[in-house]
Assembly symmetry: C2
Homo-oligomer: 465 residues x 2
């Protein structure tokens, strides 16, 4: 082909495409999430990336509608999914008769939003969601279990210093009702949300300003309310001060008590959990418990795992009342941010294989047989047979960071052994292939036993139960 | 929401969306493929589903072009990938400087083709590809290793009665050159390909007919050539009869010898392998060894794993010569066909979890603690706390096919034990939670030790080496 007929290869901006070592780390993230979600009895789900646009947008898109990839093919009006919640709603409504409730599913999949291109913003990104859907009702214990799932997942990933922040929308709505401010509660919460950024004085100024027009007493009570801090027990005690004034508030407080009651049995350490009355979650969608998760040393990342309780999953598809609770991890962004911060492990094996077999004779029979023995033993093995000088072969093995090279020359074939070289230490030993497999597996297992996110392991993995 | 505002939920035709038990089986397929590909030193790759249309279609689409999902977003001309090979070519050309060659990657991902909707035809489907890409050159041993990978993969999936059919394009092209029929070889191969369907007489009629106008001698020699059958050694001996007449043919024969030389060491049983001179693979793309894989008892399925050697992966993106060899499994179609034939295992656990913990007291502390102990031990555990009658709880456990129920009443709490009920046998035992975990793990591991595809296990898993 002539050079001028060539097209310059490129990947669209906003689309993550990793080099092999980083992709290996991403695979580890996904494997950890699959395993952790499965431990809590969530079944994997896979739905199409393309849906009928009228079906996908049944709820109305609002802010996101402009971002949606929508197009026609033949006579079909199509769209790419922009989250995993609407496809779940569709799936549950469509398969209602074939599912048993509570229906617990996890889904790790790509979603699409045509956002403005920007560093660290992705147009194609993985979400990793879990949801529990009830048929008509759903017990509060499902909400109590969520912090345990978040805790185990992030601890398994290697992140120990994080806080799961929990609130209850009924407490917030009830509180504003007590103050007679229900109509303004949305605007008030948006203002209060800026507390960390603009400070208490400025927040009071806005609350009592022309637009919101709260009394000084109302503003003070709001600021006193959201300033409630302390252990879970202390916050609950403080909240009891408002009990009896509003039914919704009381219900929310009961729910919050139920959510926190079994935290020790769920294996959630006190330091990974906090009741945080400033958490509201933007969506009107949530009706009860809401969750956010922040990384202690990197607050600027924002919440890495959020969600909550909702009362009506699929009202736009079905007349069945389907309440649920769910959380979502923005996996692509999480991976990107941790990678940028240099927080991903270099200890776990990211080579294409655990060992590279390098034959140094023309007859490959013993080398091939060795590769097969290693693979049968579970060693991920590459057989390297390119016609290259020894130095160039070893340089390849080094560049790709193989933990071990298995060298096979005439001496080795005569002895029925291999020269096993640990490429990290340079140590070399002569061993039969079966014994080499055991050495490789042990060292690789040691290296992979660490988490993918590095950080001080300050305490044993939670949940301990 | 009013009923008349509701949208009827539906999934587009040609898009596979499985119910949970089938999805669990699909996950098992994917896990098996990931593991098998990894054992041969292939690194996982993930590329965007959306690419720039001019980049994706650089090679020209031909037949497939009409099927491509192509659309604009803002000013971008976009398309969904229709295979995993073009994205690989793009990736390798783009990241050439950061990769080491041979570059071995696997990718399991969805691809899109807007085919005419038809039962068993999918518009969104998984392909599971492996490729080895060389820089300038690639040793023949890479081609010899492919049957071992196919053999291990299908054996691990549970399919024992399959044949990996191998041919070499140079042998075919050389043979037609010997007959002076190079210009007509494409048409001849397409005719010969119909042998099974239309029979030898009809094929001879077409070959000697007006359009192709071969002599009777030429037609006879072609039919004699493609009728060559037997063991690998017998076929190779027969092919030696044409040696020395054409350089390309001789090179192809040498390559075929090299590909078959180490089959025993690669652990490929004789009965799973055959040289088949009728295999050509439609694409002009392939230049050397070509592969197809057929299921002995279900020939109508066609090839379940195909591929071959090519000389120029990315000529439309780069002036680098990038030869390679690869195979692809059409996972969605394979899953669909096996499922239709009733060949998927009902023995492996497809429940959302291995055990369902059912508390029968108001205080949930012991039940929650038990669930945590089970999870810490690696038991996938669902905690069931809906306010339902016992019978309805057990019916839920039965419908979802949980292997075990863990029942916790006042007696159990007093004894610090659980009532472990095997839901398949009905057997019930009182055990401490830790001991229950061991029993559950052992039984679940036994059930999952079988393959996802059922079939008589007539011999030990290959490759044995």
């Amino acid at each position: 082909m002539e050079k001028n007929e060539r097209i310059r290869p490129r990947t669209l901006s906003g689309f993550m495409e990793l080099l092999p070592p980083d992709q290996q780390k991403m695979e580890r993230f996904m494997e950890t999430l699959r395993k952790s979600y499965s431990l809590y009895g969530f079944t994997p789900l896979d739905t199409p990336i393309i849906e009928s646009a009228p079906v996908l947008l049944a709820k109305g898109g609002g802010e996101t509608e402009k971002q949606i990839y929508r197009f026609t093919k033949g006579e079909s009006d199509l769209a790419l999914r922009f989250d995993l919640t609407v496809p779940l709603a569709k799936y549950v409504a469509l398969n209602y008769a074939n599912l048993s409730f509570p229906f617990r599913r996890y889904q790790i999949g790509k979603v699409y939003r045509g956002e403005r291109a920007q560093r660290g913003r992705f147009r194609e990104f993985y979400q990793a969601d879990i949801d529990v859907i009830g048929d008509g009702a759903l017990d509060i214990t499902n909400e109590a279990e969520i912090p345990s799932i978040i805790c185990r997942t992030f601890t398994e990933l290697g992140l120990n210093r994080f806080v799961i922040r929990v609130n209850n929308r009924r407490i917030l709505n009830g509180f504003y009702a007590i103050l007679g401010l229900s109509a303004k509660s949305g605007d008030i919460m948006r203002t209060v949300d800026k507390l960390d950024k603009i400070g208490e004085d400025k927040v009071r100024e806005i609350l009592t300003g022309e637009e919101l027009a709260l009394t000084a007493e109302q503003a003070d009570e709001i600021l006193r309310f959201i300033a409630i801090r302390g252990t879970t027990a202390e916050v609950l005690t403080a909240l009891e001060g408002w009990r009896g004034k509003n039914e919704l508030f009381d219900q929310g407080l009961d729910e919050l008590r139920a959510v926190t009651e079994y935290l020790p049995e769920f294996g959630v350490p006190e330091e990974n959990f906090a009741v945080d009355l400033t958490i509201a979650r933007g969506l009107d969608y949530y009706t009860g418990t809401v969750y956010e998760t922040t990384v202690t040393d990197y607050p600027e990342i924002g919440s890495v795992c959020s969600g909550g309780r909702y009362d009506d999953l699929a009202g736009y598809y079905t007349d069945k009342k389907l309440p649920g609770v769910g959380i979502s991890i923005g996996l692509t962004r999480l991976f990107y941010v941790l990678s940028e911060q240099g927080l991903l492990s270099d200890e776990i094996v990211t080579a294409p294989a655990d060992a590279i077999v390098i034959p140094m004779t023309d007859d490959l029979a013993f080398a091939v047989k060795t590769a097969t023995i290693l693979r049968n033993a579970g060693v991920r093995t590459q057989l390297y047979t390119e016609k290259k000088k020894f130095k160039s072969r070893m340089s390849y093995a080094g560049k790709l960071n193989f933990p071990f090279a298995v060298l096979i020359g005439e001496d080795e074939i005569a002895a029925g052994a291999v020269a096993l070289k640990n490429l990290a230490t340079g140590e070399q030993t002569a061993l039969p292939p079966e014994a080499a497999a055991r050495v490789i597996l042990e060292e690789v297992s040691r290296r992979n036993s660490g988490a993918v996110i590095t950080g001080k392991k300050e305490r044993p993995p939670c949940p301990e139960g």
